[in-house]
């Protein structure tokens, strides 16, 4: 298995882009990534595109950016699409098929084209018959992710004494970080009271505790070790990659998502690290689709004991200058969550942070935390629940 590094990235501002086509957002992200990498675009040998709604956009973007004649693979895996596309590109380069691969994550969620992941195709209605076979699935289908995670939040409050203020504090941290991220959809600082007094979506989760539907695109370029060392003094190495799935109800029965536990441990093993190694050494971008999600993840990933997710949050450990910064970018809660784009944006954040780029100067995590990083997305493609984790390091 060859070593693989992330060498360049570009992020198109997350937000409302009703007037833009997929190809226009993607083209800009790709051109930024190529410029950042310092390669000739003709050196790119393959392209992987994570998107739920962007049918064929990979080909459009590749054509519009003048990268002709390469294999283009679209990967769709609901909220995990971007990370899954990155994982495929990593396999490609690690195996030695491509030396340089381009990963694009892209989604338009603000208009009807968000489509398929949320059931925009005719097939969805047909398959409701299949869902109805399983009552728990059908009820999930009716309430949707906010309802599902709201139930998890209630359970966490009942079992561990977690308060609604604890939950709101996740959003407060998120917005504080995003206030320094010009590419986040919501950059406004919020107080706990403001979060709690926001529009109620699904008790106890208010609007600002639910990630917004967003338009956005991101691109990263990865390379074999030999080329990474040629093109960069600061490559970011892929040390671990893992993905797994389960049936969906794990989270509610255990307040713990088996795919998150399993994929994180598999990625840790591959990277030869443990959960504690991230403390005072690394930072992470996790899938905070709801405020409760980040708390659950911090426990599932082994950074807090069960029930103590709120504790490490309240102690400031997960702040951007804490011992283990979580979501210095602002995460999904503030950046927004254009499904396919999210996983790729997280990896771009890791690169920018580890290189200490001017772009992230105001949200820069401490120098001591730049040795190790982790990205994580999770999603529910139909009846399945999937988690994808990558571990990165500045050191080979």
């Amino acid at each position: 298995m060859r070593n693989v590094a992330v060498v360049g990235a570009g992020v198109f501002p997350f937000g409302r882009h009703h007037d833009l086509l997929y190809v226009e957002m993607g083209r800009d992200a790709v051109n930024d990534a190529i410029k950042d990498t310092g390669i000739d675009r003709k050196e790119i040998q393959s392209c992987y595109v994570g998107t739920t709604g962007g049918v064929g956009v990979g080909h459009e973007i590749v054509n519009e950016t003048g990268i002709i004649g390469i294999p283009i693979t679209r990967v769709e895996n609901a909220c995990v699409s971007g990370s899954n596309a990155f994982r495929m590109a990593w396999m490609d380069v690690a195996l030695g098929i491509s030396d340089i691969s381009l990963v694009i994550g892209i989604e338009k969620m603000k208009d009807s084209s968000m489509g398929e992941a949320a059931g925009g195709t005719g097939r969805f209605k047909l398959e409701m018959k299949a869902m109805a076979k399983n009552i728990s699935m059908a009820s999930f289908g009716l309430m949707g992710p906010p309802g599902y995670f709201a139930l998890a939040a209630h359970r966490h409050m009942a079992e561990f004494g977690t308060t609604k203020e604890d939950l709101a504090s996740v959003t407060v941290k998120s917005r504080t970080n995003a206030n320094n991220n010009p590419k986040a959809e919501y950059q406004n600082i919020m107080t706990v009271d403001e979060v709690l007094n926001d529009k109620m979506i699904n008790p106890p989760l208010t609007r600002s505790q639910c990630c917004p539907k967003t338009d956005g695109a991101a691109a990263v370029i990865i390379m074999s070790e030999k080329l990474a060392k040629k093109y960069s003094d600061t490559p970011v190495w892929v040390k671990g990659s893992a993905m797994t799935s389960s049936i969906i109800m794990d989270l509610l029965s255990n307040l713990s998502a088996m795919p998150n536990i399993k994929s994180s441990r598999m990625a840790y093993d591959m990277a030869k690290v443990e959960a504690k190694d991230f403390y005072k050494n690394g930072f992470v971008e996790v899938h905070d689709c709801f405020s409760i999600s980040e708390i659950l993840h911090s426990e599932d990933f082994g950074w807090a004991k069960k029930g103590e997710g709120p504790k490490i949050l309240n102690e400031g450990i997960t702040q951007k200058d804490g011992d283990l910064p979580i979501n210095p970018s602002g995460g999904l809660l503030s950046c927004g969550h254009p499904l396919g784009a999210t996983g790729v944006r997280q990896i771009a954040e890791v690169l920018f942070q580890m290189r200490k780029d001017k772009e992230v100067a105001k949200r820069q995590v401490p120098d001591g935390n730049l040795n190790l990083a982790l990205t994580h997305t999770m999603g529910q493609p139909m009846l399945g629940f999937t988690s994808c984790v990558h571990v990165f390091s500045r050191n080979l």
Copy 2:
């Protein structure tokens, strides 16, 4: 790079399955593949699903067949979806991430759910703006694949003296083979006159010279060398895999599709074979989406000189008992073309033929042709034109 073999396969009958869900067709194909392979389903470590319309079906099928907790990646690449999914699974096992991987190809085309590849999502309308920027693309969009290939047929007739009877003979051969394939949508033998007198779709192509829209599913199971030797006395080795793309107009300007030429030569090189090695030694399943397509491919792949595709057809070389059988299964023209399923069905055919299974006894190619095989799909995801080729051998 580890050696990878195809060890088991299952094909759900191609045809009209209005009453069946994706998950029902896919489940049966997967269960057949597992039974054929002789493994415990819990040994499957990853799953790749090629489908344009089957959002989330991979997770449904995996759950319904009792394979829990594995990574499931959906790949969408229009008509190349199934082959592309297979290619990802091959990378996965070749790299050493999974030892056993399941590939599913599946599509429902008969009802509205065929969806996205044909522009079923809202996004398509929006992106027509992008297509309109390029007039040649817009005109392609208006006429669709039958019109596009009809133009190519006219060019071939004008340049090389190809006749409408030559074109019809492709369908005659296809139906003759499919007459022995109980899983093909159209199994009726046809004469040249019947093909020419069929309903005109786009001159010179009549209905039976255009592949039908079909429902269907197929599954194959691949393994590392060590496990393949444990589970099978007749593994079929993956010797070459290549995929590439171009802008779409190559075919009309050159009567030759650059991605087909390029991906076939890349796959030949990887497999250390040449075009001539298939004669009296191998057989192939190519993407005969239209009668003219098979003729063009036989030239692009180097089996016939330019303009002499009809010659090798008329000489009987490409018949199932000829020197180089093309599409012994009946191909897309008779099996039908459920987009994601096609590429996987082709690979199942290679396995069945190379093992001399009872299932293919009546369409069995000669013993001397069982040493080498090739599968090929091509597609037009939006503005891009993609070709994917795999080469197989009974010998490691």
